[in-house]
Symmetry: D2
Subunit: 295 residues, 4 copies
């Protein structure tokens, strides 16, 4: 019997499944089958053509665009699932969807963990992703060795949905950091300050964030905006975060405004560009670019 | 002739002037004279009772609450100033005020640098502050050895006012990071997630900031909110940042909203508490506290 | 056979059912039965103790706090419903709920109209309410004579859910008008302007709204805030409006912020007061009251 | 001696000065002199080529784009002013500028009233403008007969600056009403509701405002946006309103956000279009137009 299966070989899933294949007998399935075959060749995994064949595994991983696709895959596979299977969803999903999926799996005697990751393409390739896991603690410990195949740090953050909740909030903080740094930097450009120097200062001061330390120097100042994680997907995570807050009647005015700004950006900049390209919305309003002087 | 003078021995100024006194003959003046005398005793500086006596120095430093106090001090001292004196203002001031002060000093043949600092009380005591300097490049190089007495890194960021501009934006980014992390964490608390664990995850993920790495673990989770930098002073810096943006007709919706939230906090929480206590505004709206579970 | 039934004799429903009883044989049901008996005595309606007894009517009206209560009542009555019955929901409800309720009724051969009203307690008593109706056009025309019993103007605004959608947006505009007028008036009070005079001017100028013309003179300046429609219910309508926008990926930054401000007000002022008391949130932030000078 | 002078014959000033000329001996001055000559011919006023010639009048009116132009005109004319002259500024100006202008005039023994108007081009032509006057009460009564030449209602709203303050807030409420109605209507369009019908309903309900009653039917639904008052000028008034609030440390989150949205619109739509064209910003974000169905 195969030990693990991996569904969804995108930018993140492809290398994650590669790390699993080094340690476990691994089945891989992808909507575009050729990608699964390439994976088999590169990492020694086994490509399966039929989604249902993944049910031979003890641990089934998903890494898909949204919880909608996960739900659809679960429903297709459900009749064939063996009791005791653990479903580990690495999608940046929606806690409410996850709780619904978990209930469906439980009816079939299966367990669910939401296990979204942080660290980007680089972290996936290096196998050093941060993983935030929601679900039953015993199930978590059972699945931990498999998860550790692609992880730097693994955290059990609470019940089903908690992993997705923490991921959504993390990404919302990233979204706000991107937007606010852009607002601050266009303000400085208008004052005649070189944004490259301003970033150097901020990055050894109290205003620094992952975004000012990594995104702005590597993606914005260079004007390259390499597309590793789309603006539309970060907008989706922002929506999940504000939706949790609203369901709980929690006022989060900055998060709400940032979520709106990502929707504006989707209309004005497009959703298919890198998430860091959201700074172009702020630049368009300001009428200036965040580019180094004489650069 | 004394080499440097320091006006304003507050939380930051006191240790900064201490570092100067180790390398330079240093005059110190403080509104409450006893503090200057204590400084003299501790660091071997020379306390002067008359503000005008500071004009014996080649470099006069100020570190005061706002540019209003700096302007007032400059006007009192102006008639006694010797041409060639360099005034170095370490206040988190207002670029417009600074440009006005610089013009006044120029009429007396003196130079002005705005040189606000970042790094807090700890950085001031260790002499490792980040200093962002605006003003003439030659003046900057003349003053650099004195500034380095209390600095880790020193940056020349542009013309007069640029130092204050960068500082205001840095602090605005800090203000937004504080508020948005609070919004995100109360959302997670409502989902049953332990905020201590959520912070651990965020701090190895893309949502991290100085605020989540330092402020939340040390000041918020502990519920200690030690008062090292007041909420009212951060609100003032936020006002400077949005005022620069508005003068330049630059839309900065997140910065504007954050500035309003700091004014709300001043009314609801009070301005005299530590700036990190602004999270209590968000907590009051949510009806929960950001405290570790079982803590 | 009775012609109409009315479920929910609250502030609005009680007089609305009264107008119906003048023209139609009318059954009335209320959770607190004594209110139904009082209605029967006052208007000659017939009080029924069993909710299912309302199914004798051709037209069943509901006027309840939210769509949640409507859905619950529909489910209880559904098994007893006769095909051809028209359900007319005057609740300020949620379009999504309404569409779900309509589908359930359709399975039983019944029709649904969402028919929320505007005009407040005074309009309900005078029988001059504005009614905005969503649903099938033929059903609308069949129900129109009954609806006109309590209406000034009746509009067919679209398919099922459209009535609730228009009502939610109308109330959101009211919410924003209340908040923004409060913001403007505290600003003027701080400038020393008498808010009573400012309102007189605004009400013959381009800044006027229903809120400045009616609410501020009658409820705010008098400091009476008579509780005819609760802050919590207007907050609920605001939530419906922003939820429609978000489902459609439409950025509505002012609506989103206003919805958050109503949640803040529920925490700080309480939800059980009149909706106009939301101005106290703005007053608390400003530290002044919107009261006539020397009043 | 001429009784009144009028400086600034724009869209508003031209007809206002016309009404004055029917009752008073009236001097007119305009930057483009031909307009003054046309006025003289049409209304029997007297065109003067030299700005200083206006000082022959007892009452000098200004109606200019902003307080900056008023200040400049006052400074040019000041040396020639006779003590006792009353300067009546109908510009939608800035209270702080007005107080500065008033002090300058007072040094010359002259009085100042800020007297901005509401009612648009139509009101100016009909002589039915609403006038909100700030300044000394005796001066107000002295000037009242002249002001009434073009007014429907005249209000004394407080000391110097109060007129401009009330006008700025009125226009801010208009700005918010425009933006929020646009947000609400695009939300309804996305729900399939005809915005023309939605407006009919709102205009007999509690969400109505001057903007939904007049602007949307006449300017937006028709897609005509006739340019009677520019977007840039309303943006300027919005800036005056939020600047008053900020100076007074009053949090006004909706006003601040609306001010930012007008700046965004200036960048994206342009400032020279009619102020109602700001709805195109909201439409662009939503990807739909507010146009009647089948219209």
């Amino acid at each position: 019997m195969a030990q693990v299966a991996f569904i969804g070989l995108g930018t993140m899933g492809y290398p994650m499944a590669g790390h699993l294949a080094r340690q476990f007998e691994t089945l891989v399935w992808n909507r575009t089958a050729s990608k699964a075959q390439a994976h088999a060749q590169q990492f020694g995994s086994r490509a399966v053509a039929d989604l249902k064949a993944t049910t031979q595994a003890e641990f089934i991983f998903t890494c898909l665009p949204t919880s909608v696709e996960v739900e659809s895959v679960v429903e297709q596979v459900l009749p064939a699932l063996k009791p005791g299977t653990v479903w580990i969803d690495c999608t940046s999903g929606d806690p409410n969807h996850s709780r619904r999926i978990a209930r469906r799996l439980q009816e079939a005697g299966c367990d669910f963990l939401d296990a979204p990751v942080s660290g980007g393409k680089a972290g996936a390739e290096a196998g050093t992703l941060t993983v935030m896991v929601g679900g039953n603690r015993d199930t978590f410990h059972r699945a931990l060795p498999a998860i550790q195949a692609f992880a730097g740090k693994v955290f059990h953050v609470g019940d089903v949905g908690a992993g997705h909740a923490v991921k959504a909030v993390n990404n919302m903080l990233l979204a706000i950091a991107l937007l606010s740094a852009a607002e601050g930097l266009v303000t400085l450009v208008k004052q005649g300050v070189d944004p490259a120097i301003a970033l150097e200062v901020i990055n050894v001061s109290s205003g620094r964030s992952f975004s000012t330390e990594v995104h702005f120097p590597e993606r914005v100042l260079t004007r390259e905006f390499p597309n590793t994680f789309s603006l539309a997907l970060l907008a989706k995570d922002a929506r999940i975060a504000v939706s949790m807050a609203r369901e709980a009647y929690v006022p989060v005015p900055l998060m709400q405004l940032a979520a709106e700004m990502f929707e504006m950006a989707k209309q004005q900049i497009g959703g298919d560009v890198d998430h860091t390209a959201v700074v172009k919305l702020i630049e368009a309003w300001a009428g200036v670019e965040i580019a180094p002087k004489g650069g």
